[in-house]
C-alpha cells in the first residue's frame, strides 16, 4: 500500500469494515463473528439462515461463509469459502498463490460428485465491493447453478 499508514497496518479495522459494509447487510446472514475472537481477529465467519436460502433450498443446518483477507501490494491475498453442511457443497473464491496458471484469482467448487476451478476477475478493487461481488455471485449464480451440479452436465 503506497498510502502512509501506522505501525505496518494499512487497514487496521478491515474486518470490522467488511462486517459492517457487507456481511451485516445481507438479509440471508444471521450472525457474523470474528475468529477466534475480536482481539486476534484472524478471520470473519458469517452464518446463513438456511430457511432464507431458496433456489435451491438446503437442509436445516446453517451454511457458513469464512473470510480471510490480508491487504498487500500489488494484490491483496484473500480466501472466501462457503460451506453447506447439509449438502457437502463447497465454493471458494481465492486470490492466493495456489494456482498461478489461472491468474491472480480463481473460483473453485466441489459438489457431491463433481468439482472444478477456473480463473476469475473482479469488477472492483475495494475489498468491501469485491466481497459484495462474491456474495451476490454465491446467492444468484453459484448456489443455483453448481450446488447440485454433476459430472454429466
Amino acid at each position: 500500500m503506497s498510502v502512509p499508514h501506522p505501525g505496518g497496518d494499512p487497514n487496521a479495522n478491515l474486518y470490522a469494515q467488511l462486517k459492517r459494509d457487507v456481511l451485516d447487510r445481507v438479509p440471508q446472514i444471521t450472525t457474523v463473528e470474528f475468529v477466534p475472537d475480536d482481539i486476534e481477529a484472524k478471520q470473519l465467519r458469517a452464518v446463513f439462515d438456511s430457511a432464507r436460502l431458496e433456489d435451491p433450498p438446503t437442509g436445516p443446518d446453517s451454511p457458513e461463509l469464512t473470510v480471510k483477507w490480508y491487504r498487500q501490494d500489488p494484490h491483496d491475498w484473500f480466501r472466501i469459502n462457503y460451506t453447506d453442511p447439509n449438502t457437502g457443497f463447497h465454493a471458494g473464491w481465492h486470490q492466493d498463490e495456489d494456482h498461478p496458471d489461472l491468474g491472480h484469482a480463481h473460483f473453485q467448487y466441489s459438489a457431491a460428485d463433481t468439482e472444478d476451478r477456473w480463473g476469475i476477475t473482479f469488477a472492483h478493487e475495494s475489498p468491501s465491493l469485491i466481497l459484495w461481488e462474491i456474495v451476490e455471485e454465491l446467492l444468484e449464480d453459484v448456489r443455483p447453478n453448481y450446488q447440485y451440479a454433476s459430472d454429466d452436465s
Partner: protein, 193 residues
C-alpha cells in the same frame, strides 16, 4: 481436478456485468454514498473523485460532495499538488478506531493482556520451531531448504499469520497502555437547557 479452463466474466450470470434488467444485491442493500464511504476507507493509493465515482457506480458530483465531507471529518486527506486532486485515507484513524472498538467491546484489560501474551507466545513458538526472527526470514527458508509442497504452503501461511499477529499485538498493546485514556464516557452528556 477434472478440468481447468478460464471463464470470462461474461459467462457469469448476474454479477456486475449488466444492471439494465435488475439491480444486484449490493445495489439493493447500499446507497451510492455508502459505497463511496466504503471505497474511501480502503484506498491503497491516492485516487481521483472520478476513479472513486466509477468504482462506486455513482455520479461524479455527489461522489465529490461525500469525499469533501470525509476530508472535513478527517477520514480522508486531499492532495491538490498534482494535475488532478486525489484523496487517500488517514490510516492512523483506523488503527485508533480499532483500539477504541477493543476498549468498548466488553473485554476486561486482563482479558486483553492474556490474549496479548498468547499472541506473543505463538510468535515465540514459531521463532523456536524455524530458528528465525521474522516472517520474511521464515519465507527465506523456502529458498534455503528443500521442503515438500505442503510444508512450503504451511510456512507461507504461518508467515502471513505472523505478520497479522504482529499488527494485532501493536493495536491490542496500545489499547492496554491507554486503557484509562480510552475509557468510554459512561453517560451521554445532558443537553444543557
Amino acid at each position: 481436478m477434472t478440468s481447468t479452463y478460464i471463464k470470462t466474466k461474461h459467462e457469469w450470470c448476474g454479477m456486475t456485468e449488466d444492471k439494465s434488467n435488475s439491480e444486484g444485491l449490493m445495489e439493493r442493500q447500499t446507497t451510492g454514498e455508502d459505497r463511496v464511504r466504503m471505497i474511501a476507507r480502503q484506498l491503497s493509493e491516492p485516487r481521483t473523485a472520478n476513479w472513486i465515482a466509477s468504482e462506486a457506480g455513482w455520479s461524479h458530483e455527489p461522489t465529490k460532495r461525500v469525499l469533501e465531507r470525509l476530508v472535513d471529518d478527517g477520514v480522508l486527506h486531499r492532495d491538490d499538488s498534482g494535475t488532478h486532486t486525489t484523496y487517500y485515507p488517514d490510516y492512523r484513524r483506523q488503527a485508533m478506531q480499532e483500539a477504541m472498538r477493543l476498549r468498548d467491546s466488553g473485554h476486561t484489560v486482563e482479558e486483553l493482556t492474556d490474549r496479548l501474551a498468547d499472541m506473543k507466545a505463538q510468535i515465540r513458538d514459531w521463532e523456536d520451531e524455524f530458528g528465525v526472527e521474522s516472517p520474511n526470514q521464515l519465507r527465506g527458508t523456502l529458498a534455503e531448504e528443500s521442503l515438500d509442497a505442503d510444508e512450503e504452503d504451511r510456512r507461507r501461511e504461518i508467515a502471513r499469520e505472523w505478520e497479522h499477529l504482529q499488527r494485532r499485538i501493536k493495536i491490542v498493546g496500545f489499547a492496554i497502555r491507554e486503557w484509562d485514556f480510552l475509557a468510554p464516557t459512561t453517560e451521554p452528556a445532558e443537553a444543557s437547557s
